[in-house]
Symmetry: C2
Subunit: 96 residues, 2 copies
């Protein structure tokens, strides 16, 4: 039988965020927003969910006088991502 897909990652925006973070040291809110094309509200909510699950860390600081939210993937997030990719591959080749 096909494996269950981690519902936290099986979301367009959260998957985009995680896969971006998987490839870089860190990324801030604005960068994630432009890269994903998401609205601020949606991005804010999905970042919270990833953080609540321990998949990413969120650090709030300032760049000059402007607020800056920096995100990083955690080892736990990397593992979850790797497993999600593995599970997905089973789906994509299910019929064969």
């Amino acid at each position: 039988m096909l494996p269950k897909l981690d519902p936290l990652l099986h979301s367009e925006l959260r998957l985009a965020v995680i896969s971006i973070l998987a490839g870089v040291e860190e990324a801030d809110f604005t960068y994630l927003k432009t890269q994903t094309g998401a609205t601020s509200g949606n991005l804010s909510v999905q970042i919270d969910k990833l953080a609540a699950a321990g998949y990413i860390t969120v650090e709030k600081g300032f760049k000059g006088k402007m607020p800056r939210t920096t995100c990083r993937i955690t080892p736990q997030g990397q593992e979850a991502f790797a497993e999600y990719v593995k599970a997905l591959k089973e789906y994509l080749s299910a019929g064969k």
Copy 2:
């Protein structure tokens, strides 16, 4: 920017159904149910959606005296699936 993922396919159960159908000539309701582990209700609903989108055809007949629902993927469905897979791959390698 990352491509949009076809929302019709970006659903655990519908993706499972489509990828199973992509590999076989046809599959009936019961087979899809056991392979996916889905409940009948959920499967029924998701099959309807895929059929409404023209991704699969649904044929109702009888095997002996018992009803039998047979599903097949359409060329349109195959194309959509191929494109979904292609788009997904961009997600999975986004950060690099």
